[in-house]
Symmetry: C2
């Protein structure tokens, strides 16, 4: 039959053609979402705006985000996305939660803040009631208050501090010629920020400020990956991980009391994949214990750090099967497939994350190249946490139209949008990443139904218990109805 059909050149039946086109669209993320009349009006407006942005001389998703950011800020689509209730942010790291402007302009101006410039062009901070001792990486600590008093160009100085705390630069291609180079700066910025954030009084304000930024961007719930680093007081007292979790719990409680339309936040305890098996075993046991102590706060466990230069999930298999051995449960939220080296041991992480019953997959950049893992994750409703700007800045892809998530979106694969490390990439909230997913990766066929499904997904794929999911959905729907009424 096929070959007979091929030998004819009949005009395709236009109604069959329409049907096929509709069928293909219906498979997409949001392709089966029924839109109300008001939603259809807003959708038509979004479609026109998207056509305009796609035909402009410079198409933001095709540029490096650091160059695209001012264009995106002027975009009418972006402005709508800022107003849109986006649901939950399910993939953000605690050390990169708050914009560097606040860190420098607020935190480094607090009393007792010391700075040290290291030999490898990095920076360290510490709060201390007396002059800090020299450390292996820091011989000469200066009190910032004293240093600033001597400086003429304090704005320039503050700017240089910010440069140490973020990847943002005017010349990303020159500054980061390779993945190695950008990851090196990435790790440096993390270490630089640590001295500020792990100061106990700062942590409290920092968390609050982070929730504020999300709330301001119309995000209503957060799952934060955190290593729960020990925090310190001015006198050198050190707090343990339970203290950090308790602080997190208290600050969240205060924030939701101040902002009743914010649902809350939970923590995914994370350890670095550079650790040894026995260290990860200890961390898994500790996470089980912390989850028992803070069942409302601790959502589960993850391994973080660059996959390509790190140890695989399979390497840690003994540690990761500990909970079952101990008769405990510990949900996993593994980073997996944040790589473009296909077919290596690291590239196996996605399948192993699924075999270890991960609840979601962080990034899953490589998932589209793994048809079987893709089916498994779809069947077991394991959503991918898509962080487009992170993938671009960390040099997995330059033009976001080529992001493999375009394949996943065309198939309606379970997916949520997140921002990974907002302060390092110079974003705030989720709107920038929503813009890239909607305009760049989704193309012209992704529509208001896509946005709606992505927002709803962020609640349904969260770690919230059923009753809180229901509450979140109701809260979100109210916000959504207002958003539609205001903008349709």
């Amino acid at each position: 039959l096929v070959s007979w059909v091929k030998m004819t050149n009949l005009m395709p039946d236009p109604s069959r053609r329409d049907l096929l086109m509709r069928q293909e669209v219906s498979r997409r993320t949001g392709g089966r979402v029924a839109l109300t009349a008001a939603e259809q009006r807003l959708d038509a407006r979004l479609h026109r705006l998207k056509e305009q942005e796609m035909s402009a001389a410079q198409f933001p998703p095709a540029l490096h985000f650091f160059k695209a950011k001012p264009l995106i800020q002027r975009s009418s689509i972006f402005k709508l996305l800022q107003k849109m209730p986006k649901g939950a942010a399910l993939h953000i790291h605690s050390s990169s939660l708050v914009g560097v402007d606040w860190l420098v302009e607020n935190v480094t101006y607090r009393p007792h803040c010391y700075v040290c410039f290291t030999w490898d062009n990095s920076v360290r901070f510490v709060f201390s009631s007396r002059h800090p001792f020299p450390r292996w990486d820091c011989f000469y600590w200066q009190l910032l208050e004293t240093l600033r008093a001597k400086l003429k160009d304090s704005a320039g100085f503050d700017n240089s501090l910010k440069q140490h705390l973020t990847l943002v630069t005017e010349d990303p291609d020159g500054a980061y010629p390779s993945q190695d180079a950008v990851w090196e700066k990435f790790e440096k910025a993390f270490i630089a920020a640590a001295g500020l954030i792990t100061h106990a009084p700062v942590l409290r304000d920092y968390y609050y400020k982070g929730l504020e930024e999300l709330h301001h961007d119309n995000v209503m719930y957060l799952e934060l990956r955190s290593g729960l680093s020990r925090t310190y007081e001015l006198d050198g007292t050190i707090h343990d991980k339970a203290w950090t979790l308790k602080t997190f719990q208290e600050v969240t409680k205060k924030f939701t009391a101040d902002h009743p339309d914010f649902l809350g936040a939970r923590v995914i305890v994370s350890v670095h994949r550079a650790l040894s098996v026995s260290e990860v075993k200890a961390a898994v046991k500790e996470a089980i214990q912390l989850q028992k102590e803070f069942p409302d706060v601790v959502a589960g466990f993850d391994l973080v750090g660059r996959e390509d230069s790190g140890r695989t999930l399979w390497y840690f298999r003994e540690a990761l099967s500990l909970p079952a051995e101990l008769g405990a449960t510990l949900p996993y939220f593994f980073h997996a497939g944040e790589t473009d080296t296909e077919g290596t041991d690291v590239d196996q992480n996605i399948l192993d994350a699924l075999l270890f019953n991960t609840t979601r997959i962080g990034h899953g950049y490589a998932l589209a190249h793994h048809p079987l893992a893709k089916e498994l994750s779809r069947e077991s409703s394991v959503a991918v946490e898509l962080c487009p700007i992170s993938n671009q800045v960390l040099k997995l892809v330059s033009d976001l139209r080529n992001h493999p998530a375009a394949v996943l979106m065309s198939e309606g694969h379970p997916m949520v949008i997140s921002s990974d490390d907002p302060s390092l990439f110079g974003t705030t909230g989720l709107s920038y990443d929503f813009y890239q997913a909607f305009v760049g990766i989704g193309g012209l066929k992704s529509n208001l139904g896509t946005l709606k499904e992505l927002a709803v997904n962020s609640i349904s794929y969260s770690s919230l218990p059923a009753h809180l999911k229901n509450r979140a959905q109701v809260m979100w729907q109210n916000k959504w109805d207002t958003f539609i009424a205001d903008n349709a």
Copy 2:
């Protein structure tokens, strides 16, 4: 069940894990090819070499081809690919078949060759027995022989001529900041070469030389897309399309007589998608007629030119359904989906190509984003003609690991490898594109079975009648056996 499974953190059964990994590999292009002991030895060697190249400081598929080319030429994998019998080249355009070195160093040194430098920094050539008349785009023709006699730096001059005939440059990012810019140069180079190639005596040598380059790269059969431009003699006589087809037929016959291990060549008649519907109607009718006159030569019909700025297949639907109306048959070999603008009318070309029963899809760059079209093309065995270097140079993708064909390869989608416009991209034969597909797009999991399947595909998805396909397979298998014996 799923949620119960998720609440346990059992160690995954290693044998089930192995099974899943093998199942996933078996879906890949070449994943079910059984390798002989000798093939397995060569495969192991290829695997080691690939691991080395993937961990080197510079990974050629991640670089622009113009910068990667010298690295690829030094690659041991590339040297093996050059020796490997690759089967057929199914997607090459006649105006870009032969390297520019030969065009400049041989053709432009022939007598009666005139050159003209245009106001828009391009060049025109014409052979003429007397001084050519000024044309709208060319006021001042100079005889190359006379001009060269006056020049001091003839090597530099020849080099400048070559620059006009190819896209190759040391600074591709600077020279071609956008798709528009690179396509503009693309069209200019085509026009520049036309005056040389359409000179009747040159065309004969040019075809022969083109077949020689393919044969030298261990390619044994060609399907050439050609507009069958009218050719001219020194005295101004113009030949029609039938003359060109006849010349092609004769040259092919001579070449196969001189090289009995070369199977032959066929032509896919191509017209530009800038034409009107009535012009394409006339072209379709003419192609039907030419196929009747030259059934062994004419394989079918295609529309060429940049899709993003051109008319869609659906726009030409009346013309494309003409054959059936006329009771004739005309196989189609449509370029479709050579675009990264998702969801536009142009992005619809792939589905329409399938609805018009295309025999293969040229490029199909966007196919991975069209799940339904992907299924249709798989079910009806419509192979994608993958031309990785073309897609990179024409700025659809920068790092070839992000080429969407990685998805297609992971699913074993029907596929062949070709070179599109070798002289414009500075390639010769298929080995460069095989390198990119094998090392860059295929990743570490693609192996000798992948290469074997791709080569076999090129014969089975060709337009050859069954008896010639069989002959080609036997010829290819003999070459392959020798290749394995020599290199295992």
